[in-house]
Every structure is written in C-alpha cells, then in structure tokens.
C-alpha cells in the first residue's frame, strides 16, 4: 500500500488536489523501487507475495499479504453493510480464497489489489445469494479472444493502477463521491439516484463523465 496515493485519493479540495497530484506523480515514479516509509507495501511486492503463496505455499508470504489486505477487505465489507462479526467471517473466507486461487494469479492481467477486490466482491455476493455470481470463464470454449494488442498500447496492470490512482484524485469531488458510492455502497445506479434525489439520467451521465475523465487521463499518460 502506498499511503501517499491513499491520502491523495481522499484529497478533495482544489488546492490539496493540486498538491497531491504533483507529489503523487513524483511518488509514482519511484513507486516500484522501495517500500514506502510508512510500512505499507508497494504493488510489486504485493504481486510477488501472492506468487510466492501460489508457487511455494509460502505461509510467511501469506501472513504479510494478510497483514496488508485483511484490514482493507474487512473495511470494504463493513462499508458494504456487513456488521463487524460478519465482516470478520467473510474477510477470513475471502483470504482463504486468496490462498486457494493464488496459483492462478497473473500479475500481467490484474494487480494484487484489483485481484483481491474481485475475490472480496464475489465472496460477499455469494454469501447473499442462492447462486454463485455469474462470472466470465477464461477457459470457456465459446470465448472470443481479443485481437493482439499493438506494442505501444500495452500497459501493465500496475502502471494502469498507478495512473488510475492519480486520475481519481484529480476528479471533481462530486464525481469521485459517486464512484465511491457505486463501488462501496452496493447501490445500483437507480438506487444512487433515489438516495441522492437526482434523476437517474443525471447519475448515469455524471458517472459516465467521471469514467470518461479517468479513461482520458490514463490514455493521455500512455
């Protein structure tokens, strides 16, 4: 985890956003070289911890992963409406899944945080539903493969995450808040619209605007 990026993502005023943006850019440049002084872990390291678990069933690596992700996954589950005891149970289930699935982790597809986010998300949905969440199966014989990407458009999952972090911090507060709502309050667009007393079309267009800005930012960096 890189604290600066975390702080930056929560920085919402114009001035602090501008400051955060410049420091984050500087920070992003050295992100892969060393652990942050706050004891957090850099993405590279998190990726290799998952790989160590996958390849060697390395329990020490798992402990370090747990230390980093368990508190975040638990917080996510609480934000999504679980009480603390449920959140603890589900978080443990999710971390078990991290162990079980670690062999299939591919850092070129998704970074550690993204991969664990999807595991926590699915664990939570499965706990609420009769059926397991419908998921894309990468080994589906019906799968239509993507065209090979051109060399200059290839971007690593890690670079993408770094760029996104910067882009989120640069979003206007309202758009950033809607994105948070969409991811952390388990609300569909219609429910967000009802809660915010906004027309559905407005919520959709603001979210579209936010996603458009994020995409533009990421593309500009390429």
């Amino acid at each position: 985890m890189c604290m600066l990026c975390a702080m930056e993502a929560s920085a919402r005023t114009t001035v602090s956003r501008r400051l955060a943006r410049s420091s984050a850019l500087a920070h992003h440049g050295r992100m892969t070289q060393q652990a942050s002084p706050t004891g957090g872990r850099v993405p590279d390291e998190l990726d290799s911890l998952i790989q160590a678990v996958g390849r060697n069933q390395d329990k020490q690596a798992f402990r370090r992963l747990f230390e980093h992700f368990a508190p975040r996954v638990k917080a996510y589950l609480i934000r999504m409406g679980s009480d603390p005891a449920q959140a603890e149970d589900l978080m443990q289930e999710a971390m078990l899944m991290v162990w079980r699935r670690s062999e299939s982790f591919d850092p070129s597809q998704a970074g550690a945080s993204t991969w664990i986010f999807t595991i926590a998300r699915n664990k939570r949905i499965d706990s609420l539903r009769r059926e397991r969440r419908a998921e894309l199966d990468p080994e589906d014989p019906s799968l239509v493969p993507a065209a090979p990407a051109s060399a200059d458009s290839v971007i690593s999952a890690q670079e993408r995450a770094g760029q996104l972090r910067i882009a989120i911090a640069a979003l206007p507060g309202e758009q950033a808040r809607l994105l948070q709502l969409a991811f952390y309050e388990d609300k569909t667009h219609s429910e967000i619209a009802a809660d915010e007393r906004l027309p559905l079309g407005t919520v959709k267009s603001r979210l579209r605007l936010a996603l458009g800005r994020l995409r533009k930012h990421v593309e500009d960096e390429r």
């Binding site: 978080m91 969440r133 894309l136 996104l164």
Partner: protein, 221 residues
C-alpha cells in the same frame, strides 16, 4: 465482432458487484463474446482495486490470521482451475456462465413450445425485481418472427446462436438488443440456422395487435 454492447452503467454495476443475478449473467455471457467490454470491465475492476487501496482499514480480530492458516492446514491442496460445468449434451455449445446456472439447477431444464417456431426455456436465475420479470433462453426457428409486442419494463436479448432483426437493427452472436416500453418490435430470426438468445426482462411482454392480445390468452409468452 459484437456491435451492440451493454451500456456503461450496466458494466459498472457488474464490476462493482451491484448488478442483479440476471444482469450479471447477461454481462458475463456478453463478455465471453466481447473483448472490448472485457477490457472495459478490467479497467473498472482496477478502479475497485484502487479504491480498496485507499479505504480506511478496519482491524481484524487478533487471532484472525492464525485461524485462517489453521483452516488452510486442514484442507486438501485445492485445484486452481475452474472445473467445467456438467451439462446435458444439448446445452454443450452454450457459454459457461449459462451452463453453470443450468448445472446448478435441481430440476432438468426443458424447452417448451410457445407457438410454432418459438420455444423458451426458463433459467433458474433470480430475475430482477418486478412482476413478470424473467430470465430465459429463447429459440426461434429460421425466418420465424415473434408477434409485434412491447414491454412494460426493460428487455435485454443477447444472441447466442444465429441472428435476428427487428425495427432497431440486426443482431448477431454476442450482441445485446435492449428494449423498453417506448419500442414496439417484431423480432425475426435470420434465415439459415435457429436463433438462440438469452432474454432478461424486467416486466411483462405486451402483445401489440388485437390478434396478438387474443393470442396472449393462450400462449404464455
């Protein structure tokens, strides 16, 4: 190459986990056919991961990690690859998200005839809220058209085999056609092979013509 995609709001609901079972099924199936939307969902999930990084942490119970390691010690070494679902031979060409749903069902799903040339198969996914909502497969024989109708809610039709046309366009494998109450349409299957599609509706179908309305007394569309 698919040309008709789910809207971005639906992809976002899928990535964040807010989508209903039926919508998740629709999106997961579309993703099987559509590399473009796959990469869009990858990006949205990356956004979820980035937000997870910046969340205010909540401390686990002190013995939490030991408990998890203890449970790991007691279980057999897991296989990391997803096991292909076991389905009847007639469902084997379907995309796996649909196959998994069929495999999880405790009854044997069967096609039923609605009218000449049109069969449906109800899927055990929990449909979205609203009376008359449903999740089903629809099979139209080549050249057959569904009577002109409209919808009280929304309808999403994802083509799995063959193709069809209606007043809004032509749809092929992987394409999603979406319809609401403002559209009255008469989908007709392409000539050649039967058109099989996944249909998710959030409200009952209303047949448009007097004859259609009369027919609706006899056929459960």
């Amino acid at each position: 190459m698919t040309r008709h995609h789910p809207d971005q709001a639906m992809l976002l609901d899928y990535a964040s986990g807010a989508a209903s079972e039926a919508e998740s099924l629709l999106v997961a199936t579309h993703l099987t056919y559509c590399p473009r939307c796959r990469s869009e969902v990858d990006e949205l999930e990356c956004l979820g991961g980035t937000l997870l990084d910046s969340i205010e942490p909540s401390l686990p119970a002190p013995s939490s990690c030991d408990e998890v390691l203890d449970r790991l010690g007691r279980e057999p070494r897991p296989t990391s690859r997803p096991v292909p679902p076991q389905v009847l031979p007639q469902f084997q060409g379907l995309p796996r998200p649909i196959q998994r749903l069929l495999a999880a069902s405790d009854r044997v799903p069967a096609w039923r005839r609605v009218m000449a040339g049109l069969d449906v198969l109800d899927l055990p996914a929990r449909p979205p809220e609203g009376a008359g909502s449903m999740v089903r497969l629809m099979r139209l024989q080549p050249g057959v058209a569904v009577p002109q109708h409209t919808h009280r809610g929304e309808e999403f039709t994802l083509v799995l085999a063959g193709g069809f046309s209606d007043d809004t366009g032509h749809y092929q494998v992987g394409d999603i056609a979406s319809c609401d109450g403002s559209i009255s349409h008469r989908p007709a299957a392409d000539l050649g092979e039967p058109c099989v599609s996944l249909v998710v509706t959030t409200g009952p179908v209303r047949l448009a013509s007097p004859i259609g309305r009369l027919a609706s007394l006899f056929v459960r569309v």
